[in-house]
């Protein structure tokens, strides 16, 4: 026996149910279809192209009267259903009663009208059906017409774009902070807004509509801030709500929408529902894909087959010609989520994947959405993407398979692939810089800024150089810092500064260290970089220092140590000499030697005696000479005007002042200085890291000399007129060296890398910068200028310098 199926609502959802039903069980039901609109079924989501004029109504019709007739459906279009009598199983309408065995409710949704004054004025239209669309098309025929669209969601923006294409002057008012906030993150929202504005559509976000102004028809829209936007029509597109009036009146269970189970059956087993009117597992849907999923299941249920709808993951594309936008899933930030982002600001490309436990849970794409479907597939399937994570963001063309040869991978990147995240530089910009003449890493850095901030992309940039130039590119000898990392010292210094990394574990994490706690190569360097860059925050790690700096004495080949007290500027006194002699006697120091830096060296002190000998020397006013430090060693002087008949200035006094200002400062490598009182240069200032030659008219400061494995004369930095200016120049030079040099590069090596002109610009020419460098140096000194001997000369510390236990007697049992 053929049952009677009554369908309320002739939209896309019910149309799809009937299609499926007629395929699987063509003769199961006599079907009666009620539709509020006086026409058949059309593809509602294609209304936007109709509005914009890119399609006609005829092109978007899916089921016309002929189709329904061919399947024996009795169509009652334009006839409003007024009620459902579930006890008697009849549908009530203007024409009377229609009995049913099964009822399918597909009443869709109704546009949400915000309850503001003037909402009922003529000229205020919603954007839901063909009538709305035609009303807007008619309004747009008036030349110079102005439209205000309230709502910057999917529908509102499509309406705005359509009206703009129809020649109207369009303003969008959106309540939230960025457009399409349910589908887009703020970045993509911003790109979209910029894109719309470039099409001449004004977009005002955070604009709460206060009133629609007009006497007998709409004239303007006023927002909370008081601004009025003149309007000939107002399109209200703030959202939709499930249309459940009939269902509620019939006593069916409803929440936001009409409740259905997984078989699309309502609380009455004879009544099914599909589409935007339903609420399934707490979700209401306003997009077409879930409707189609529901329709399949409803058709099966009606045909007596098994089927279950388990909810839909939805993706969104904005149907505005020329705007490529795709979003799917959940893309809010959360602690357990990670993200992969690709940006090309210049071309308006933005791709963001939100990952949770190695699975994609959210996708936002803007500007280039070609891979949207692929990402959405991975999202829906819950695919584990850990294997292809490196290239995931570049889409299916680069994903999976064997790990790519790094060169091929770089060569295969699209031009808009972002290489430098810090500066937002993409591959195309870099390759054009390279072909434009920037054939070295530094050249690329100077031209594009790529790799000049944190440096993590340096490897990529070098590969680009190599790919672009081929054999013409000679890779620099940029060695990784150590085997724990691929980053160079320079990369790490940039990383520490740009990401404000203030602890070693933070650097290991950010720099992708391959070891758990570094090694003897990187740890001392990192310790220096961190204490140099963050004097206030970083706590010096003694266990990351070389033995000499840890013990504040120089280890000798037999494991004993040498002790060198500071003699300021090489000046000493009989009392100090007596104290040194006494200490040498007391601790049986085998060798006492005068050093090249005008100090006295006590060699052969046992480790456990160090704190005691320091205590004795401290008592005589002597402090650590830092003869062991990557820091200021000595300031060597001649006797100057005090005694010398050729002396032009007080070289000894200046040397002492310099030493008093600079002692205790940690530097990338040791720093030796000297002050000579005249150009005869008895203090040998012209082979030091910093040397001062006094002349009648002032002080000639030169830097970057060497007298070790390399011998090199200093280079002239600047001439100062006063001692204070000399001191400032020296402090500024030392500080810029501290902030920029690679660990274990003496100043002469570092200056050779950056160029003396680079240094001069910042230390000599730019007086503000010089002052800033001096201030930073002094600040660091306020923290680090402490005598390590005094700190360690007390008794409790002394224990740690002795053996922990003596088993020589114990084991003799």
């Amino acid at each position: 026996m053929t049952e009677k199926l009554v369908v309320i609502g002739a939209g896309m959802a019910s149309g799809r149910v009937l299609e499926h039903l007629f395929e699987s069980a063509p003769d199961a039901y006599d079907v009666t279809l009620f539709g509020a609109e006086p026409r058949g079924n059309y593809n509602r989501i294609m209304l936007s192209p109709v509005l914009s004029g890119e399609k006609t109504y005829e092109e978007i019709v899916t089921h016309d009267a002929g189709w329904y007739a061919a399947h024996g459906v009795i169509c009652r279009f334009g006839e409003a259903v007024t009620g459902i009598d579930r006890d008697r199983k009849v549908v009530l309408s203007e024409a009377g009663e229609t009995p049913y065995d099964k009822l399918l409710i597909a009443t869709g949704s109704a546009p949400f009208i915000i309850p503001v004054p003037g909402k009922d004025l003529p000229g205020v239209i919603t954007y839901r059906d063909l009538d709305d669309t035609n009303a807007m098309i008619a309004a747009a025929e008036k030349p110079g017409g102005r439209a205000v669209v309230i709502g910057g969601g999917l529908l509102g923006l499509e309406a705005a774009a359509g009206l703009k294409l129809r020649g109207m002057d369009v303003t969008v008012l959106h309540l939230m902070g960025h457009v399409m906030e349910r589908q887009l993150d703020p970045t993509a929202g911003h790109l979209l807004k910029a894109d719309l504005e470039s099409r001449g559509i004004r977009v005002h976000t955070a604009a709460n509509t206060h009133e629609i102004v007009g006497t007998d028809r709409v004239e303007a829209v006023r927002v909370d801030a008081g601004t009025e936007y003149p309007a000939d029509i107002v399109c209200m597109a703030v959202g939709i709500r499930p249309e459940t009036t009939l269902a509620k009146a019939a006593g069916l269970a409803c929440g936001r929408g009409l409740h259905v189970d997984d078989k699309m059956v309502t609380s009455d087993e004879s009544i099914l529902a599909v589409g935007e009117c339903v609420e399934h597992r707490g979700m209401c849907y306003g997009l077409v894909a879930p409707l189609y999923d529901m329709a399949k299941v409803a058709a099966k249920t009606l045909a007596g087959a098994e089927g279950a709808y388990e909810g839909s993951l939805t993706s969104t594309k904005l149907k505005v010609t020329g705007v490529d936008l795709f979003s799917a899933g959940d893309f809010a930030d959360a602690d357990d989520r990670e993200e992969i982002v690709l940006r090309d600001a210049a071309r308006g490309v933005y791709k963001r994947l939100v990952l949770q436990a190695n699975r994609i849970i959210g996708v936002v794409m803007y500007g280039d959405t070609a891979d949207g479907a692929w990402f959405f597939g991975l999202l829906k399937d819950g695919t584990d993407i850990s294997e292809m994570r490196e290239t995931l963001i570049f889409g299916p063309a680069y994903a999976g398979g064997t790990p790519l040869d790094p060169m091929a991978a770089v060569a295969a990147l699209p031009d808009e692939a972002e290489i430098c995240g810090c500066n937002g530089i993409c591959k195309g910009q870099i390759t054009s810089a390279i072909t434009g003449g920037a054939t070295t890493l530094d050249g690329v850095r100077q031209t594009t800024k790529a790799s000049s901030s944190c440096g993590t992309c340096t490897g990529l940039v070098e590969r680009l150089l190599s790919v672009t130039l081929g054999d013409a590119y000679a890779a620099p000898a940029a060695q990784p810092m150590c085997k724990c990392t691929d980053l160079t010292h320079e990369d790490v210094r940039r990383l520490i500064k740009s990401q404000e990394l203030k602890a070693m574990p933070a650097v290991w994490q950010a720099g992708h260290w391959k070891t758990s706690c570094g090694c003897h190569v990187c740890r001392p360097a990192l310790n220096y970089y961190l204490l140099s860059d963050w004097p206030d925050d970083y706590v010096d790690d003694g266990q990351s220092r070389f033995v000499n700096e840890r013990n504040h004495a120089n280890i000798q080949k037999d494991g004993t140590f040498s002790v060198v007290p500071r003699m300021w500027g090489g000046i000493t006194t009989p009392d100090e000499l007596r104290a040194i002699a006494d200490a040498a006697d007391k601790f049986s120091v085998p060798t006492v030697k005068v050093t090249g830096g005008q100090r006295i060296d006590l060699l052969g002190v046992h480790k456990q005696d160090l704190p005691s000998i320091w205590a004795d020397l401290n008592a005589a006013g002597l402090v650590s000479g830092h003869a062991y430090a990557k820091g200021l060693r000595t300031v060597k002087t001649c006797v100057g005007t005090d005694h010398c008949r050729f002396g032009t200035q007080d070289s000894t006094g200046l040397g002492i002042k310099i030493e008093k200002a600079m002692w205790g400062s940690w530097t990338p490598h040791k720093v030796k200085m000297a002050v000579s009182g005249c150009p005869r240069n008895c203090a040998e200032a012209t082979c030091k890291d910093v040397g001062v030659i006094c002349v009648d008219s002032g002080y000639e400061v030169s830097v970057a000399g060497a007298a070790g494995m390399d011998v090199k004369e200093t280079e002239f930095l600047a001439k100062a007129e006063t001692e204070n200016e000399t001191l400032d120049l020296i402090m500024a030079f030392t500080q810029i060296y501290r902030e920029n040099a690679k660990y274990l590069d003496r100043p002469y090596k570092w200056v050779a890398k950056v160029g003396l002109d680079w240094v001069k610009e910042r230390v000599v020419d730019d007086l503000d910068n010089r002052a800033a460098l001096v201030a930073r140096f002094k600040h660091s000194q306020s923290i680090y200028q402490v005598d390590p001997w005094a700190e360690r000369a007390n008794d409790t510390v002394t224990e740690k310098w002795s053996p922990m236990a003596d088993l020589t007697l114990e084991a003799a049992e």
Binding site: H520, R523, V547, M804, L807
Partner: protein
């Protein structure tokens, strides 16, 4: 002494050894260095680098290895073996931490000396 039973003797508190550092103990067979890693593991090895007798206790501790302070040979604290490309080995000794105290087996120490 009964070779079948382990007799552990107390050396001192774990906290007496700096993290990623070392302390030395004197024994009949020379100085032995007790190392404490970042993960609070403790190892005991001879305090003498096989290269030029550098005091390993003064080296930088990283992972389960120490770098000799004199010429940067890297020695495994677990095995006493010198890491390539250098060659050699250092005697290791059983050591344990019990209730925050570092304990050594003196018998093993004597055997080590004989080995």
């Amino acid at each position: 002494m009964n070779a079948q039973t382990e007799t552990w003797i107390d050396i001192g508190a774990l906290d007496d050894i700096p993290v990623r550092g070392a302390r030395v103990i004197r024994t009949r067979v020379g100085c032995v260095a007790l190392f404490r890693t970042a993960k609070d593991e403790v190892f005991a090895i001879d305090d003498t680098c096989p290269h030029k007798k550098g005091p390993l206790s003064e080296g930088i501790v990283h992972g389960k290895a120490v770098t000799c302070p004199l010429h940067n040979w890297v020695i495994s604290l677990e095995t006493g073996l010198v890491k390539a490309p250098d060659e050699g080995s250092v005697q290791t000794y059983p050591v344990r931490v019990s209730e925050g105290r570092v304990q050594l087996d003196p018998a093993q120490l004597a055997q080590g000396a004989g080995a």
